[in-house]
Symmetry: C2
Subunit: 195 residues, 2 copies
């Protein structure tokens, strides 16, 4: 058992080393050699955990979405459903340094997935999962009687999802401009406009 735990732990260490290399050099600079070096391992030892670059990148990409899901599950929810939805959506935005790194890497992964079949399936699956999460936000507002009853839920899901990802993209491009309060303010304005 301890061996298995160590194996998983080491994979995460390598995935995070991959994120740092991607942040510094872009995804095109994220070679197995550079990621191993960043993690303080030889390329040979890295191959004990991942048989090739694509497998390592897919694992690193998946780890971003796992962390987002875990944070949403552990969010400090209250009785205020509206504010809870702001908390959930905030987990999809680069509100602090940790999430900024994740988002930057996440967007780079998705662009790479356009030309890398090994990442495309994962990119598509996580896109659908996130969309389901957004759907729950919209439906939750409706069920709780907070939003207008005449909303076209399907279209509002697409609109909110695009807004959140566009905001994440802009915040990654302009970290100084997009403060946490600015991003949450835009989310709040948007959700209020549905009410």
């Amino acid at each position: 058992m301890p061996k298995k735990v160590d194996h998983e732990k080491q994979k995460k260490v390598l995935a995070k080393a991959a994120w740092r290399v991607i942040k510094k050099e872009g995804i095109e600079g994220a070679s197995v050699r550079k990621i191993a070096k960043e993690a303080g391992l030889s390329a040979g030892s890295l191959r004990h955990y991942f048989s090739n670059q694509s497998e390592l990148l897919a694992y690193s990409m998946n780890l971003v979405s796992e962390r987002v899901k875990t944070r949403i599950q552990n969010a400090a929810f209250t009785e205020d459903h509206f504010e809870n939805m702001i908390l959930v959506l905030g987990e999809l935005l680069p509100l602090d340094e940790e999430r900024r790194l994740e988002m930057e890497v996440w967007i780079a992964f998705n662009i790479k997935a356009l030309v890398d079949p090994n990442l495309a399936e994962l990119s598509s699956r996580v896109y659908d999962e996130m969309k389901e999460g957004i759907r729950k936000v919209i439906e939750g507002l409706k069920l709780n009687g907070i939003s207008r009853s005449d909303l076209n839920a399907g279209e509002e899901v697409e609109r909110l999802y695009a807004l959140v990802d566009g905001l994440a993209l802009h915040a990654v491009m302009n970290p100084d401009h997009f403060t946490e309060s600015k991003m949450k303010g835009i989310l709040r304005t948007h959700l209020l406009s549905l009410c």
Copy 2:
């Protein structure tokens, strides 16, 4: 004079060859050698037009924004200000194959600009120009008495801009799902919600 025209024309041919290579192989595959090959030139001849890869990529990136601006200037505007604004915003979305290629390349450029100082300045300048365009849309709706008078224009500019870029990103990732009418429908819903 003819020589200068040919020179500019050839630079555009090379920039579009760069787009096609980026679409097929990602920006990390867009080497000078591959772009030259795609355009049917030798890498040596390419260097007659661009002294290095970064200069060629910057030119290709700038060409996307120039084409968007030209299309907006030439759009079939009518007396209906609201519909005109849908036309303007539509030029920022991948509504057809040509614009899909431009958008895909544009997003890849912006991600690359995060780690490439030679592209960062251009990325930032075009980001600001596009934001000015979005500001004109919001202010135009206000001036024409179409939008609500209590809008927070600054925030609405950020929200609409994020929506448009997020929609472009999603449409590039899911070309079959995001039809022209779906994208325009979302824009229309958004602008109507401001009125």
